[in-house]
């Protein structure tokens, strides 16, 4: 082969990686970054749903209204409480389930399948199942509480219980996922290191702390990040169960966004809600990234 042929071939080889990332890049540009920047721009306009292309640029007007609106703080608080509690309870239950199922025992495969069930059911189906169970008149929960002599509860329509009821469904869906991730990590804990801890006189809890927990911590952290981000943007369960009510006690940013856009007809304002949600999710990701970097740095010392 001639020298110029070789050169043009090596030029092609250099271009090849770009050729491979081009299709996903185009896809992301068209379906993600373009709509995202449109939304960001829209949050700076007074676009209304009746005439989406006739919005006027109003600068930070929407955000100013947001800061002065008490309903925004209710929504923000609902989002934060919902997210934090989902992460804490969901991850804790998932880790406990993973630890319980890590040891071989009879019927382990069946137990694992049952525990995974919640994750396998689609969100909408799960919400409908739970909606029936929460039903004030015929739901199974009120049957039980009546049998126990506690009377009936308005699970989804009382400001005291609504968030808790939504949380219960969310945790039921999220914990199996956490379990799966943590279980994978648990099964790669080196057996010899556990045995070394036993020889060194560590009891069960100390072995867990010294060997198992450090090994699965990155996986727990990753699961927590994903659960947090999903909680910030979760729509199906909340909307189907309570629609954001009662009195906004479960109206997270995403639910509020839908309400503002399609009931209040204010697309510009809804976009501002979306921007806040995005900022929140990015903040969580940044925290995870920083923690991960610090851990890597510490481990390599």
């Amino acid at each position: 082969m001639s020298a110029s042929g070789l050169r043009s071939r090596s030029g092609l080889v250099k271009l090849l990686p770009y050729a491979f990332i081009l299709p996903p890049m185009i896809y992301l540009m068209v379906f993600m970054f373009w709509p995202l920047s449109r939304q960001m721009y829209m949050s700076l306009t007074n676009t209304r749903i009746v005439n989406p292309n006739r919005g006027r640029f109003i600068g930070l007007g929407n955000y100013e209204r947001l800061i002065e609106d008490p309903a925004f703080y209710v929504s923000l608080k609902a989002t934060l409480v919902y997210t934090v509690l989902t992460v804490i309870i969901g991850v804790a239950l998932g880790v406990v389930a993973a630890l319980a199922i890590d040891r071989p025992f009879k019927g382990r495969a069946v137990a694992r399948a049952i525990l995974l069930f919640g994750w396998a059911v689609p969100g909408v189906a799960a919400s409908l199942i739970w909606l029936w169970m929460y039903n004030e008149r015929s739901g199974v929960f009120n049957r039980i509480t009546e049998l126990l002599g506690l009377g009936r509860f308005s699970w989804l329509t009382s400001t005291d219980y609504a968030l808790g009821s939504v949380l219960a469904v969310t945790v039921w869906q999220v914990a199996p996922f956490v379990m799966l991730v943590v279980l994978a990590a648990l099964q790669s804990v080196p057996q010899e290191v556990r045995e070394a801890a036993r020889i060194d006189g560590a009891d069960g809890i100390s072995t867990f702390r010294a060997v198992t927990l450090p090994h699965i911590r990155p996986s727990i952290q990753l699961a927590a990040l994903l659960v947090a981000v999903w909680s910030i943007r979760r729509f199906d369960i909340i909307y189907l169960l309570t629609g954001g009510g009662p009195l906004g006690s479960t109206s997270t940013l995403v639910v509020k966004l839908r309400q503002t856009a399609f009931e209040g007809h204010e697309l510009g304002m809804a976009s501002a809600y979306g921007a806040v949600g995005l900022a929140l999710a990015l903040m969580v990701a940044a925290i995870h990234y920083t923690a991960e970097q610090r851990r890597m740095k510490r481990m390599s010392r």
Partner: protein
């Protein structure tokens, strides 16, 4: 200090018997090596001593008391794992101090927050800190104390594992192929360091290896195992000079002992079926057996001078000595079209003699250096004592 006794100890996994009725005594202060090929049950045996594996049947005695169900902690043993099994997220200091911290640990330290404070304070406690530092100094680990295992070399990790074993000053050290993950040069160095360590601490060491060189150089006594059965228990010299059977003869020594099928008819010895040899010493009183002689007991001569005519097939020059693999000339070699060389007879000569592959030569031996083995069972036989 414990003297260990194995009394018909067996281990089975399902239908598979790993160790079958193992009997042995481990004396106080000795360096005992369990030697055998992979999968012969030697690591399982070590794990039984440590209390990491259950004993299926039989008794393991520590100083005369049955210890089958003792927790590892109660046995007072230290274990060095093949993969070192260091705690990856702890510093070298925390790794070494971990057994001491665990000794001083109280149940209520498990409470949240208390745990962090307690561990922090235990690490700083004068006796623990000093002992950790002392051991680290002895093993030249002091500059590495605040590093983590991931940033250490193989040899350094090995020393941290040893330090963690030493720090509690146990009576019994169990080492499971601790050198197999090191490169050849480091292995030689660590071998002498572990030997020196044994002399200094004067405690009992039980060392598992498949490397006969490690066994020969370090052991005061060797147990050779194969397929869960003890083949021979003796000092390295005895095992080398007087192997109990062909397995031991072949496993110990590099190159291994030459084992040549032999037959006797009309009081005349024939090797490899066809080659008559004037043996000039008493022969076993049976027709077929195995003739064994160590490579260094054979001598190399020009063709025609020795009793065994041969042809050079392989020459390995090691500098100080040369190992020459020869084919015995039984009169059938012209039919032999195989590419691979089997049944070579190895001879070890000092220096660097001028021999070429394909050259004709001859070998000779002293009748007193020959060992005889049963052709079927492989057991050693003694001419005149049968």
């Amino acid at each position: 200090m414990p003297a260990l006794t194995f009394n018909k100890v067996s281990k089975t996994f399902g239908d598979h018997t790993v160790i079958n009725a193992f009997n042995a005594d481990i004396h106080d202060g000795e360096f005992l090596v369990l030697l055998g090929p992979s999968g012969c049950g030697k690591s399982t045996l070590l794990r039984m001593i440590a209390g990491l594996s259950d004993i299926t049947s039989g008794d393991l005695l520590f100083d005369g008391s049955v210890a089958n169900d003792w927790e590892p902690k109660k046995r007072g043993v230290a274990f060095v794992f093949q993969t070192y099994a260091l705690y990856p997220h702890m510093t070298v200091r925390e790794n070494i101090a971990f057994p001491l911290v665990m000794d001083a640990f109280r149940k209520w330290y498990h409470l949240p927050i208390v745990n962090i404070v307690a561990r922090h304070r235990l690490m700083k406690r004068a006796d623990i800190a000093e002992r950790t530092l002392g051991i680290a100094r002895q093993l030249e680990l002091e500059p590495l104390l605040d590093r983590r295992p991931a940033s250490l070399s193989g040899g350094q990790r090995q020393r941290v594992a040893l330090a963690r074993a030493l720090v509690r000053n146990p009576d019994l050290y169990l080492l499971d192929e601790p050198l197999s993950n090191l490169d050849a040069k480091l292995r030689t160095q660590m071998r002498s360091e572990i030997s020196a360590l044994h002399h200094k601490v004067g405690k009992t060491f039980v060392y598992v290896t498949h490397d006969q060189v490690e066994a020969m150089t370090m052991a005061t006594r060797i147990i050779v195992m194969n397929k869960g059965i003890v083949q021979q228990v003796d000092t390295p010299d005895e095992i080398y000079d007087h192997p109990a059977n062909t397995f031991v003869a072949r496993f110990v020594g590099s190159p291994p002992m030459n084992l040549i099928p032999a037959s006797v008819s009309n009081d005349a010895l024939q090797l490899s079926g066809k080659l008559p040899v004037d043996h000039a010493a008493p022969l076993p009183s049976r027709r077929h057996m195995t003739f064994g002689v160590r490579p260094e007991k054979l001598t190399l001569h020009p063709a025609g001078e020795g009793r065994l005519p041969a042809q050079v097939a392989v020459v390995e020059r090691l500098g100080a000595e040369t190992v020459i693999g020869c084919r015995l000339m039984t009169g059938e070699e012209n039919n032999d079209q195989r590419l691979l060389e089997h049944d070579l007879v190895f001879v070890r000569v000092s220096g660097n003699p001028k021999v070429r592959i394909g050259e004709l030569c001859s070998l000779d031996y002293q009748a007193g250096d020959v060992l005889w083995f049963d052709i079927d069972s492989g057991d050693r036989i003694f001419p005149g004592q049968e």
